[in-house]
Symmetry: C2
DNA sequence: TATTTGTTTAGAATTATTCTAAACTGTTGA
DNA sequence: TCAACAGTTTAGAATAATTCTAAACAAATA
């Protein structure tokens, strides 16, 4: 079947692609096919926590042709641009978080799953005085959880 | 000069070595020369934060003959035994902490230095409900700091 | 002391991540 | 519309932290 999308694929794009293109250009990155594909995986539904490997597997499963090196490049560029946050939970791999707002995490040590804790559901009273001449760059709270008993 | 320590070196050991030996045996580890050397570096003065590489460099500088593999083995065994804690701050290397009590950290993103925050100098109000059937394994607060301006 | 079991270590292997450099593509100004 | 340029992708090599292997060695035990 021939659709309008197909016919005008060189000049027309769907909504999410336009939004993504703006988002990428907004941070000084070209809207390449690979970045749009990754962006669609990352920024289309709810917030996500991914690793380079998990995202690459997902892309491959979705029939997207993209190298692992490009996934690494894109994740690092997106992070540097503020489109993603890096979350420290596992010393053996780097997690990226599409939720860039200030929030915290549950980390299931049993299965490696990360869950967001909304910013307002936790309160850190930061009484300690900072070292001289230093300011806060960020506060991360990680609550490690495990199966009962 | 001939000292008592030297003469009786096979049967007598100094205080810190005896203490360390007990500590190691207490967790089911033999008090080998290498573990005692590492233990002396780790548990003699104030609390410390080290990486395998930094501790190995320190040992070498102190004239201690020990392989990097043994440092890795010992750090992992000490952690498993509860003599050390692993601290997540840098996705590219593993930090170990001689302070195993519940406490938190400042992490200077500029120079990589870790500083303890005493347990009572920070308060985390954990309002969020845990996922079903899960219990808390630990809570880590990391305050990333950087030079002013 | 002889035996056993745990430990150390050199060097190889593993693995996440980055790098290199050549092919390719998005952007832009004419 | 398109040439030219700068940015991007990628295969494969390189890097680096960490773990593994297996042989030599040392601590515990009887
Ligand atoms: Mn990184
Ligand atoms: Mn480890
Ligand atoms: Zn998150
Ligand atoms: Zn500490």
């Amino acid at each position: 079947m021939i659709t309008m999308e197909k016919v005008f694929s060189h000049t027309r794009q769907n909504d999410s692609t336009q939004t993504l293109t703006k988002k990428l250009r907004g941070v000084g990155l070209r809207a390449t096919r690979q970045r749009l594909d990754i962006g669609n995986l990352l920024f289309s539904g709810k917030d996500r926590h991914v690793t380079a490997e998990s995202l690459h597997d997902e892309a491959v499963a979705a029939g997207i042709r993209i190298s692992l090196a490009t996934i690494y490049n894109a994740l690092n560029q997106f992070r540097d641009a503020g489109l993603l946050r890096e979350v420290l939970v596992d010393p053996s791999r780097t997690y990226f978080d599409t939720n860039t707002s200030s929030h915290h995490h549950f980390f299931n040590v049993d299965n490696g799953h990360l869950t967001d804790i909304p910013h307002d559901e936790i309160s850190v009273s930061c009484l300690p005085t900072l070292p001289e001449g230093q300011i806060i760059d960020g506060v991360d709270v990680l609550i490690r959880i495990k199966p009962d008993a």
